[in-house]
């Protein structure tokens, strides 16, 4: 007997806002979180801007996210972001942190792409210097891929399935989909899901070398992320985290939880790096199948979709993505759904993109608006040939949003798509 799955809590650490109220204000008003990074200039990066959350590291201790003892020796930035987002989501859902018994009914799927390499620099130096015995007890737990998941599940005593997923830029949406499936099939009553990313200088440098980053707006950081525009010259790396509490509808109703929205279904697949798909490019057939499967499992038809929250990173893949959506939905021109890219405001936070954009999608459902695409004063004509310009809003539109399709596509030719709905 499959269960309905609803969202009862959300937490966010985004470059343009920390905490739901600040983030909501930012996305309604098209506020950019992209800043110039002096350090990247020193390092001779071509792209010298990034979306970096204005995160108060001490707040982890001062706001009781973790104990002083746990805080002492915590270096992994991604873990700090993930813990803050996850615990905020938990509190937002109306639940206390403390528990003596494990919460057997609640599990966790939290994704990331890589541990904080910068934090590991000290480890490498010590080992190379023949001082491994001075590393101490706190390195392994922060270097392991399941670092974020371990800190979160330990703090909250989560006792159901606890796992860490990684699917490049599709990680966040995939984590939510996996949590949804566990609750839907009755394996867990509640899942804490999300993803966290800290793009450290080493990962950033490697992307810079691939020549896929925005490099012409170092003197105008807020204009640097330009999805779908003719001047889209690469993406802007971002960092952050978002978390959601997914619950079995009956279980949520029983405890009187506030319900934000419903996850109707979704799909995650791969294009197999065939038919034009490669390590870094999506096989369009795979993308279209993924969107079709997401709609089929959700029982939603293409004409019901009010809003597409695109992947749309501001590279030359944007045009192909829009074309894939037109083919998947069989909707184009004036019939195309309203579409936006949060990346225009915060850049591309890799594994965290999917969870941050899902929180944005749910806020648009709850508050009845479509957030603007910023830096879209010069649309790519190859995109506006496919879909009407007024479907890609540059100002916030206040309107009822019932169904959102949220998709992300990642290196390795992996795709994930979620269908989110107003709770009725």
């Amino acid at each position: 007997m499959s269960k309905r799955v609803v969202v009862t809590g959300m937490g966010i650490v985004s470059p343009n806002g920390i905490g739901i109220p600040a983030f909501l204000h930012a996305i309604q008003n098209g506020i950019s979180g992209i800043k110039f990074m002096p350090r990247y200039q020193e390092l001779n990066f071509s792209c010298q801007v990034a979306g970096m959350p204005a995160f108060d590291w001490e707040s982890l201790k001062n706001k009781n996210y973790i104990s002083e003892v746990t805080f002492h020796g915590l270096k992994g930035t991604n873990i700090g972001y993930g813990v803050a987002a996850a615990l905020d989501a938990w509190a937002d859902s109306g639940m206390a942190y403390e528990t003596d018994e494990p919460r057997w009914e609640t599990g966790c799927v939290f994704g990331n792409s890589i541990a904080d390499t910068e934090a590991m620099k000290n480890v490498i130096a010590r080992v190379d210097n023949k001082e491994a015995r001075k590393l101490g007890s706190r390195v392994v737990e922060q270097a392991m891929n399941s670092g974020v998941t371990s800190y979160v599940s330990g703090r909250l005593g989560l006792g159901n399935k606890v796992l860490t997923n990684s699917a490049a830029c599709a990680t966040g949406t995939q984590a939510i989909l996996m949590g949804y499936e566990y609750v839907k099939h009755g394996y867990a009553k509640r899942m804490l899901v999300g993803s966290a990313e800290h793009v450290d200088t080493y990962v950033y440098g490697a992307f810079d070398s691939m020549r896929v980053l925005s490099r012409k707006y170092n003197d105008a950081p807020e204009k640097a992320s330009r999805p779908m525009s003719i001047t889209a010259g690469g993406f802007v790396p971002g960092s952050g985290s978002a978390a959601l509490i997914l619950e079995d509808l009956d279980y949520a109703l029983e405890r009187g939880a506030r319900i934000y929205a419903e996850v109707l279904g979704g799909s995650s697949n791969s294009g197999g790096q065939r038919q034009g798909g490669t390590m870094t490019a999506a096989n369009s057939t795979g993308v279209i199948r993924c969107i079709h499967e997401a709609m089929a499992t959700s029982g939603v038809s293409a004409d019901q979709i009010d809003l597409i929250s695109g992947h749309l990173t501001a590279t030359n893949a944007d045009r192909q993505e829009i074309q894939n959506w037109t083919e998947a939905l069989n909707r184009a021109g004036d019939d195309f759904p309203l579409t936006n890219s949060l990346k225009s405001m915060i850049g591309h936070s890799l594994s965290a993109a999917g969870s941050i954009e899902t929180v944005a999608s749910i806020l648009q459902i709850v508050h009845g608006f479509v957030h603007p695409n910023i830096n879209f004063e010069d649309p790519n004509p190859e995109i506006t040939n496919l879909v009407s310009l007024d479907k890609l809003p540059v100002k916030m539109i206040k309107k009822e949003v019932n169904i959102v399709a949220k998709a992300n596509f990642g290196f390795g030719d992996v795709n994930s798509c979620l269908i989110l709905s107003k709770y009725k």
Binding site: S67, E68, V69, H72, G73, R133, K134, G136, S137, R138
Partner: protein
């Protein structure tokens, strides 16, 4: 260096690893690091590393195994300090 001096410095070394600050203020030789101060057993390694750095000594595996309560910690540290001279 007297045992009292080491005890008072040891409090500062241990402090980051226990949330039980009240008990830490009143520790004596018998105070057990894990049972009384509720220190995570993995963190004992960190206390040993911090003590090594503070006193510029090296605490070998066998000596480290003895450091279960405050008294034995002081024993090991004083012994290593004497070896240094």
């Amino acid at each position: 260096m007297t045992r009292e001096e080491i005890l008072s410095e040891l409090k500062a070394v241990i402090s980051p690893y226990t949330t039980n600050k009240e008990m830490l203020a009143g520790i004596d030789d018998q105070t057990d690091l894990i049972k009384d101060l509720k220190i995570n057993s993995a963190n004992l390694v960190d206390i040993i590393i911090d003590a090594e750095a503070k006193y510029d000594i090296e605490i070998d595996y066998d000596s480290a195994d003895k450091m279960v309560n405050v008294g034995t910690c002081i024993d090991v540290i004083s012994e290593k300090l004497k070896e240094k001279i």
